[in-house]
Symmetry: C2
Subunit: 194 residues, 2 copies
Amino acid sequence: MAGRPREFEIDKALDQAVQVFWKRGYEGASLSELTRAMGISRTSLYAAFGDKEGLFAQVAARYETGRADYMTHALEAQTAREFARRLLQGAVDLHSDPDNPHGCMVVQSALACGPDSDSVRHQLGMRRRGGEETIRQRFEQAKTDADLPSDCDPGALARFIKAVIYGLAVQSVGGATREELQQVADMAMRAVPG
Amino acid sequence: MAGRPREFEIDKALDQAVQVFWKRGYEGASLSELTRAMGISRTSLYAAFGDKEGLFAQVAARYETGRADYMTHALEAQTAREFARRLLQGAVDLHSDPDNPHGCMVVQSALACGPDSDSVRHQLGMRRRGGEETIRQRFEQAKTDADLPSDCDPGALARFIKAVIYGLAVQSVGGATREELQQVADMAMRAVPG
DNA sequence: CACATTCTGTAACGACCGGTACATATTCGA
DNA sequence: TCGAATATGTACCGGTCGTTACAGAATGTG
């Protein structure tokens, strides 16, 4: 049983929603701004995505597998050091692309604001931990391959990389230039063994 | 000409307001939660502090010179490396103190949310640049003192330290333990010459 | 005492928030 | 062709936001 066909494309609408959540964070993105950017009515949004939280879940998934996916390319690196370099460079490139809003959508949404968005923060916390674990495992493997020294703590190194990436996001929001972000990434690489 | 005396202490009220803005960020902190925490009525708040933005300006000043002042102690260090270590350690301690909310009040408020808080973001941007400049000048001096190698870029090093501090704040909000934050700070020190 | 001045509490303002009834339009299967 | 099913547009819900009129209470000065 099929009814009236949808008059917009889900993925195009999600892409527009990504831009809004990226700029505003979860709570800062209002339904009015979202519907305006997506080109659909409130009712269509709720019919297609459930509610604001459901929409954000799909937006977050698209964000991570789309513009903000620097993990895939990094995992193809041969060495741990090159892996780390690609992660940091990916963050620098992400925040330097003039087509993207400043900052990181996940960071913006996880930090702000009220107690309504506890579930969203929790949801993003899961994604964050997953990302850190992927990085840690890559460094763990490098250790068994003797690609990293035996006294190196893969978990600490992974968290350090992530911390720098978060720092890049914050500085990007503050208006840092590409050169400044690049300097931070280069400095961070001095702490990576190899 | 003096009228009816104020029935609360400005500084005590500001301290309570710091806690709320720290937890919620600028936009996430509602007047209702602020007045409840400060123990005063809406009218008294507006009479004493102007409006929400004026209150936040005074709160931000008190935040930087109060709990979040790790700069003063750091500047007393003898070497550039010890200076950097104290900055990072100050951030770790700040985010590990169980009396403080998680994260950094400035970061929380600068990232969120809507277009209403552009002026607050701008105000915080000024403070942030000021802090980075103080760090850079200390490293610059260390360079002339031959305390840092001549090929070291003080601005890049300052921005790197700040980036890591921002990263610590983000990870603190995400629920990182003191040990995890300490590991990040220790890793970052490997990138500091000396 | 009266008066200006300042602070306090009550109660409300318009604007926006996320979310939703409701009727209408458009498709498919029977 | 007729209903079941899905999408759409209008118009609205209760709630919260930051902000403010307004009147009363407490001070100093004359």
